[in-house]
Amino acid sequence: MSRPTASTSSIEGEPLRPTASAAKAREPMNVLIVGVGGQGVIMVSKALASLAQSKGYQVKQSEVHGMAKRGGTVFSHVRFGPQVWSPTIPKGEADILVALEWAEGLRWLPFLKAETGIFICDTKRIVPPFACLNRRPGAPLRYSRETPAEVRAHVAEGYAIDATRMAEELGNERAANVVLIGALSTALEFSAADWEQALAQFVPKKTIAVNLDAFRLGRNWIEEERTAVDDAEAPLAHIPAPAAAPYNVRLEITPAWCKSCDICVKLCPERCLRLNQERIVELAQPEKCTGCRLCELLCPDFAIRVHLDAVAKEVAAMPGAKA
């Protein structure tokens, strides 16, 4: 689904090695590897750093641990060359950005070199819980809406690769990072044999075979991608956000049935209910109520009903509403 379109600044047919010359010069080669905790970002950077070091380069590999395991964003800077100073890559100076997750790739785009930077990104989407917090009807997912074609139009050379799906087809989803190493390998000067040797040191012994398959898959994919002629331009547009359905939330409370148990008060996700002076439930902050019905569903005495008045027709027209 990704190939360099006419709108990219890369020169068709030229080998994908702008970076090899950079490494020969005094300037270090800058590779930024990003993803989400648990995806294997550090393994990719360790393999690359080890390989570069074995070739006699000075190497610095820098990351931040700590929150990584907890589903947060993970990044690793790898710099190698005859002389490397800063352990981190300055903004706008990454030769290659390898992303193991789609939105993480987009987050780090400003670090890529504008004229020559290569962007290699898994299309895998890991949607964080924060993206799904809005309980209002019709609320959009808070996740990146940029399409691969749109991103390719903004970078010098961009590849969106279904690495996770390819790894799944090999029978090991966790090898997605090695599919990306395969794709990355063509952009650097090291030989395939050297890469395979380096990889074997960093993957569990039992998984060497599947990881080598994953490496070759990624490597072949990007080489085919580069030579393929793509006539059918993918649309550049954003993935549209669903139009928020207009609605009117109304809570119908039957005070006589409320026994002041305050289950609804304590479990309302928006904290918009309270018990009044008679210890009967009331909607204290109507503007915060999303009409999620949780209070209605949890009330043991049917004392609350939620009416979504104006929304009924629009909702009926929304996809999946009848499922």
């Binding site: 070091q53 610095k60 929150m67 981190t88 300055p90 993480e104 785009l109």
Partner: protein, 606 residues
Amino acid sequence: MQAVPETAAPTQLRAKDVRPLTGNEAIARGAWEAGVRVAAAYPGTPSTEIMESLAGYPVEDVHAQWSTNEKVALDVAIGASFAGSRALASMKHVGLNVAADAFMSQAYIGANGGLVLAVCDDPGIHSSQNEQDTRIYGQFATVPVLEPSDAQEALDFTRLAFDLSEKFDTMVIVRGTTRLAHTRSPVVIGARTEYPSRGFLENPAKNVMIPAHARHRHAAVLEREAKLKQYLETAPVNRWETGDASFGVITAGTCYPYVREVLPGASVLKLGASWPLPEGLLRRYCESVERVFVVEELEPVIEKELRALGIKVEGKQFFPRAGEFSPEILRAGFERAGVLEPRAEGRGWALEPLARPPVLCAGCPHTSSFMAVRASGARVAGDIGCYTLACLDPLRGLDTTVAMGSSIGNAIGMSKAGDTKPVMATIGDSTFLHAGIPGLIDAVYNQANITVLLLDNHITAMTGGQEHPGTGKTLRGEEAPKVDYEALVRAIGVTWVRTVDSYDLAQTYQTLREAIAHRGVSVIISNRPCVLDPVKIKGPPLAIVNAQCNACQSCMNLGCPALTWGADTFEGRHKVKIDQSLCIGCTLCAQVCTVDCIKPAATLTQ
């Protein structure tokens, strides 16, 4: 003064002598090579791997241990130094606050066996509660501070620190930062030098800090500082790198590579020791250039000292006092200072970055604890650990977090001040052992009306799964006695103690209500292991019966990363789907489902 070529050619080294090490691993290696005999630490990002790495060296060479907190760790190291052996304590910056009492006294006592503190600061607050600058502790206690700029120096300076400690009769701080600690680069390694124990020196006037002795020792400390300054005038640890004389940069530690990145040819005075500062060297350097910039992360320690000497310098007006430095920040500062030409801004494709804060793991036992805490309606004093993340949406389960072990004392204060809500303290097992026990004794003694929820997940989780006195294992993985929390709490005088399984949400909530109803101190121990460490737990995953889901979002209120919105909607709200690869089968979502549509995935596919 020493002139060194502006950039050394890449050194050709024998492969077997060069290893890629992180700053932390290099500090551990340096300590081992320097013949360290005893080492102790409490885990804390970014310093944790120093002690983990040291535990990889032979037990015959070095006794390495996790201590209950940083003060105990430093006391252990001090004890080994008293006994005449080389000793190391490592901690994060805020750990030195915990150890500060012993630290300030030991500054007077000095060192018999070489005594080194490896302290890692966290500029940028990647994983801490503040970004205090440890160099000020060095100044405060009159203790020298060495600042490595890369992993090679981390090894070399740690070795040097032990030598300086014995030569000058002082503790020495090796100050790292997150960037040094977690950057891997090639390091030339060496062999270990064994130092026979110097034996215990019986000298009460030096080793026993009563007022009469301490007055004499303070004078000795000031004399020592003068000698250190003298030594640092010419010591190779401070490096004068000549260059263009129109301006010069004084810098130290991890700022140095950033300076070299943006100003490859500039004149630089690289201070390997950022405390104390040698006056003569500084004056000579500043006279050799027309303008002097001080580039230092966090506090203007060096800049202030230079100003006190009456030297005109520029620094914090161009380089921020808060946050971590980067080549970009230095470049911007030098552009404002007129030293660098402003560069054209890069392509401006303004993408709003996705919010992806760290979250509690799928199946984390803290999730249900905080669902129950939230439903209890209590005012909650939180503490430091993974569970601090429960302050975020959607759990929003705790109201305050101050420092390690503060929750219980804070709760006592809230209840004594008459907060109208029930008052609760939530504290993890490792944090409880670290600094929570004195707070709990205080609560019993002062008859506070609070509930303490001890979140026992059998590990120090936040720092990556370290053993502690409640896990039954040592740093090296050997069997150890295990703290019995219930017996401990009863011995303190708590009469109301219950243990619950936090995967049983109803039981946890019910017990919490009973605990709140109890007048006085009540303690609930939620007993469930961490899902990541020491073993990764993975049970049969659950799935949603899509047709039945009414999109009430009740399960989404857990904030579980395995739960996301599916494509289908009901009344305009997204139905939920479960990521089978992340779900560990804890069943919490099924327990809160309002329509009972969450089932084991295996039963649905049949």
